[in-house]
């Protein structure tokens, strides 16, 4: 599983961080992906973050 973020689209709303703080970290300078290839146990949360992102900035590839 690979996580990619479009930083131009990201608004820093922090929904992804609220759902999965192990992978997504919103800071003053924008979103940081802490782990681009997260472990499989986090799949549900990461998929949740992907679809819940209000600006559709997150892409998850299997």
């Amino acid at each position: 599983m690979k996580v990619a973020v479009d930083l131009d689209t990201c608004d820093g709303n922090g929904v992804c961080m609220s759902i999965c703080h192990e992978v997504f970290d919103v800071r003053e300078d924008g979103l940081h992906v802490l782990d681009e290839r997260p472990r499989d146990e986090l799949r549900q949360q990461i998929k949740g973050a992907e679809v819940s992102c209000p600006t559709q900035a997150i892409t998850v590839e299997d």
Binding site: G12, G14, V15, M17, H21, Q44, K47, G48, V51, P54
Partner: protein, 400 residues
Amino acid sequence: MRDDLHDIVVVGAGIAGMRAAETFRQEGYDGALTVVGDEWHAPYHRPPLSKKLLSGQIQRAGIDLAPQFDVDARVLRGASAHRLDPSSHTLDLDDDGTPLSLHYDGLVIATGATPRSWPGGAVPEGVMLLRTVDDCLAIREQLADDPRVVVVGGGFIGAEVAATCRMLGLEVALIERSDGLLLSALGAEMATCWAQLHKSHGVDLRVGASVEEFVGDGRVKGVRLNDGSQLAADLVIVGLGVSPATEWLDGSGLRIDDGLVCDATGAVEGGSDVVAAGDIARWWHPRYERHLRIEHWDHAGRQGETAARTLLAGADRADAYDELPYFWSDQYDVKLQMLGVPTDYDSFAVVDGRPEDWNFTAAYGRDGATIAVLSTTPGRVQAYRDAIKGGDEFPPTLSA
């Protein structure tokens, strides 16, 4: 997983219902799955309706939930539920004019909430509500005519709409009945702060004021306030909050009290094989030790997931959901983020920065414990997650 579920129905095709549907499949449920939605549109993101879609910064296609939502389910659009009989596990629908009864082994109720309409009854043309994408696009069309806007209701929808309209250069008045803007959500200290934000951007903010009547026959020309004054308006946007959409459940035996009352796993009290999620649901929250009905975007999705897992596991083997509610709001160039629930707070402190600089963090406490944190610094509230969850001493400090 229970092996007696072969027919699952999800009523409501917003984020809560769709996340529930998706979760059933992700968890390996391979029986029949039906999603019933009363809108004709495919599921979409609601937060932009009062912000970037309204302002025109993004277009309609930019708010679709697709393509991620490719759930293997029968989806009925334009269909509304109007009766539930839990004893026979039957759901009666109006499927675009045709009556339809569905049997279920397991049911997810996620019919959301409906905006409170104007209590005075009929309104002139140009008085509009904002809840759906159609509402948003209809309002947006009117904004193009450079109207004088009056926003009635100083909750988040009203405050965001007012900010969006001001950013478009429109003349805006914002009317709030209570003594503060965003008062019930943020408390008095921050209500004052956000009121100042709107005033400094040129909004004619009237708190402690209410609309007595709309002026104008046919098309609205203004509003008359309770102090007798009159404000001119070409467009009035009413944001009086929402009510959980439970009318259709009257007589079902499910416990309704400002929403469907659920335990901490999402199981609805008074029913079996029925779970609820999203704006309609009032779940028991273990951290706050009370039932909470949360109208937040990410909460609705996560409740949908949890409710689906509860249904699959069976009520006695389900996990409680104890995540902290989170929301954000964009007004002008300020992004407010809140983690936790500040309801009934008895102490408040700015813990970082200065409100006048619009780069600050503040905490809410009750009985000596930290219950919620608000910040305008992106992501900062999450640093206080453990402090809020653990009920750390107020005011909270950040561990390095």
